[in-house]
Amino acid sequence: MTLGLPDHLVGTSVGRALAQAAHWFGLTCLIGSLVSLAVLGISHPSAQIGVSLLGILVMAILLFLLSRHRTALLSVVYLLVGAVVTYVVSVTLLGLPELFHSSDVFLVSMPKMALLMVGGVGTGALVGVLWGTAGFILAETVTVLAALDTGVPYHPDAFTVSTYLFLVGVMLVSGLGRRRHRPVQLAMHRALQEDQSRLLRHELDVRAVALSQDTTLNQLVALVHAHPGPLGPHLAAGIRETVDTLHGTSWLTDSDERLSGPDGWLDSAVYSAIERCRDRGLVVEVTGERAALGRLDAVADRELGLAVQQCLINVILHAGIVSAEVVIESTDHDLSVMVMDAGRGFTESETGADRLGLRQAVRRRIERLGGSVTIMTRPGAGTSVLLTVPAPPGDAVQRPGTGAASGPASDPSGDSASDAGIGWPL
């Protein structure tokens, strides 16, 4: 399936792939450095080479860990340890008697290039460039110091400089190139969704044709073959059965047990909001009492829809994850919609201007309806936003089980607890 990546996943996925590529590049350089130093240690035995070997090994282990767990702390540790190791290796190699007469030898470049490949954390092109630049500056700085210490002339090394420029170029192309094709990617997503809808329509059309053939056409043919005069009992019964079938409302749906989606759900603004976010590539799973949305009046429906949309947009923009879950619960007097994701999470009290949507578009909107908003989140533990609005009882709503909302949906007191940073079990 040539679906491609949705807009909000491009940065994350390509960033991770580039980081992985950078780590493999760095690991290869470090393995090369390790082998070279080991061989030189045999031909030119010294304690300093042993220390260098150990340093390269530590650096390789850190880079391996970084490829598995991209955290800021590990990235900083790698940069600092790597800078020290690069200095030690450079001093060791350049200090070997009568061997290297300039600092720009490939053996020195190998740990330097590995230092550039820190990859770092974050998903944006600019972030990757900044981490790489930090590595480059550290690498060149320690090489200059090593050259000064050993008295070997410093020459900018073409390998490290060109590798750095290449890394920056790749990251910028990957980060910026895709943006031009966003509308086309969106069109492809829509086309795939519409194709699935067309398949469903075609399946039902074929069933309708078959049924029409069995009923309508057969009765008309029977009439064509009948003789003028009184209607026979068999023909009358057949025609009556056909008329009853066609007058009924369930002739296409009798055997279809999957039909459970009432209008209250499909016509709701919450459904429309979810659809819009699905169009943007977010996978939204909906569970619970969807039909209960039919109990809301037009204003509440619209406002709740906009609030849910804002929550889902926050998932797209900030959670760094492809999916979200929407759970709908109701009591006799309230209706609750919980939007959950297992993404990065955040600390609500520390949110900046980019989270204004959560305060303005969600909290105030719902509070104007007489409802409440409970935000349960903490960094790294995902986010759950519980929106509760008053809903008059509705006869048409079918509530499985007791019909009572469970857990947090019926506990408005959770607001203060969540604001204090208590994590919601996701």
Partner: protein, 459 residues
């Protein structure tokens, strides 16, 4: 297709399109570095007496670079294994020629352009080739580079063990190449994970609307029958007798119903996609004339990606600035009809070649509704056995009043996708005086063995 044989270009053509500038950048880097290295170290080649080989090495690496740029162009997608092998082979030849040109006089291994060129060219394959093949190529070439370096080790100017030279040369090959393989592996993994989620979500989302679609189908059927069939049956029941007029009316209605059923069965996704664009244009206050010419229902055999790519393209064309709403013609024909003769394709006519106009309608209401699946076995000139793969050709003609450059910019990303899901994509523009420029897109759709749809006889 196994996971390790998939590529970013196959799963995300637009992503590969965005990554395309990497290929010419690498091409320029390897070519320039080859020229600069050869010129600055010409004295070593002269000492070795093999200077012409250095020039040949530049030619070989330039050819590899050109091939990388050419094969990675969206219009040449998908990037094949042949191009991959050719690039690797040319890079190796360039390396061997470079080494031969300075044989026994190569002062420093780190100044050679060959190993870096091999590594960078393999890195350039990352968006287009499977990671396993990139890694395998890198491994094979690294072994050859190691062997050549080992043999030359005694003649280098630095006194270190041969393994150090080998390590330097091999690292220059492996570091960029393995980075490319890692990129390909990781991105394909992310794409597959996302697509699994997306596929499930699309199905679930469609199922959510099932009730609404069912109601629409029921309503449509009822509306169609309410005009004639239901009143007739009700009248006959009410009167308790059948008249000659009733029998004549029943015959006429049966023929009409049958015709409507055939029309319904003959519709394909292509009709629905064009109908959608028609409705969108009508909603904008434009009365369009959009024509689908697929009398053999060949579009029914298209797979999901082909359907989605075509529908998205049609949407983009109809929404484009300067689109002539009376110009769109989509034709699906047998792919081999115009092959081998070298003669130009006949221009599409504006005749009303709709699917429904081609249906042979019987005056007898008792005829069996035929199988409306692809009728290739009965089509003139289509003698291929039913089990053989078939080739259909899609031709889209559309009038768009835009400069050629703007049309190319509009189509470029869509063509990037079409090239991956279809074969032989061609675009041409003609400008007749006094009329809007006519853009013609042609692409081939290959399908596996045909599967006949079940016929439903009318008793």
């Amino acid at each position: 297709m196994s996971r390790s044989s998939l590529t970013q270009q196959q799963l995300d053509p637009l992503g590969a399109l965005a990554a395309w500038p990497l290929a010419p950048a690498i091409a320029v880097i390897v070519t320039v570095s080859a020229v600069v290295t050869t010129v600055t170290q010409a004295d070593q080649a002269v000492q070795a007496g093999n200077a012409p080989l250095g020039s040949l090495a530049i030619v070989a690496v330039t050819l590899a670079a050109i091939l990388l740029v050419f094969a990675s162009r969206p219009r040449n997608a998908p990037f094949g294994g042949g191009a991959h092998s050719a690039i690797a082979a040319l890079a190796l030849v360039a390396y061997l020629l470079e080494q031969a040109s300075r044989w026994n006089h190569n002062a420093l291994i780190q100044d050679d352009f060959g190993p870096v060129a091999i590594g960078l060219l393999l890195l350039g394959l990352a968006p287009y080739r499977p990671w396993r093949q990139i890694a395998a190529s890198a491994g094979v070439l690294a072994v050859i580079v190691a062997a050549v370096t080992w043999v030359q080790a005694p003649f280098h100017s630095i006194d270190v063990p041969p393994v150090v030279f080998v390590t330097v040369a091999v690292t220059q090959v492996l570091a960029p190449a393995l980075a490319g393989a890692a990129y390909s592996r990781r991105l394909v993994g992310s794409l597959l994970a996302w697509q699994t989620d997306a596929r499930r979500a699309i199905i679930e989302r469609t199922e959510e609307t099932r009730a609404r679609v069912v109601r629409a189908v029921v309503e449509q059927q009822r509306t169609e029958l309410a005009a004639g069939v239901l009143p007739l049956l009700t009248e006959v029941l009410d009167h308790g007798e059948i008249t000659k007029a009733d029998i004549v009316r029943a015959g006429a209605l049966a023929a009409d119903v049958r015709k409507a059923l055939l029309r319904e069965l003959d519709k394909t996704w292509l009709d629905a996609a064009v109908a959608r664009e028609r409705a969108a244009l009508l909603a904008r206050g434009i009365t369009p004339l959009l024509v689908v010419a697929d009398p053999d229902r060949r579009a029914a055999a298209f797979h999901t990606d082909q359907r989605a790519a075509t529908a998205a393209l049609l949407g983009a064309l109809c929404a484009a600035k300067g689109f002539d709403p009376c110009s769109l013609v989509v034709q699906v024909t047998a792919g081999d009809e115009f092959r081998g003769t070298g003669s130009p394709r006949p221009a599409l006519t504006r005749s009303p070649l709709t699917t429904t106009s081609e249906i042979p309608l019987s005056t007898s209401p008792l005829r069996t509704i035929p199988d409306r699946g692809p009728r290739r076995e009965t089509a003139p000139g289509a003698g291929a056995p039913a089990s053989a793969p078939r080739l259909d050709q899609v031709t889209i003609q559309v009038g768009i009043d835009l400069p050629a450059r703007a049309v190319r910019a509009l189509l470029r990303p869509y063509l990037g996708v079409l090239h991956v899901v279809f074969g032989r994509v061609r675009v041409s523009t003609s400008r007749a005086s006094g009329r809007r420029p006519l853009v013609t897109l042609e692409f081939d759709a290959e399908h596996g063995p045909e599967r006949r749809r079940l016929a439903r006889p009318v008793r």
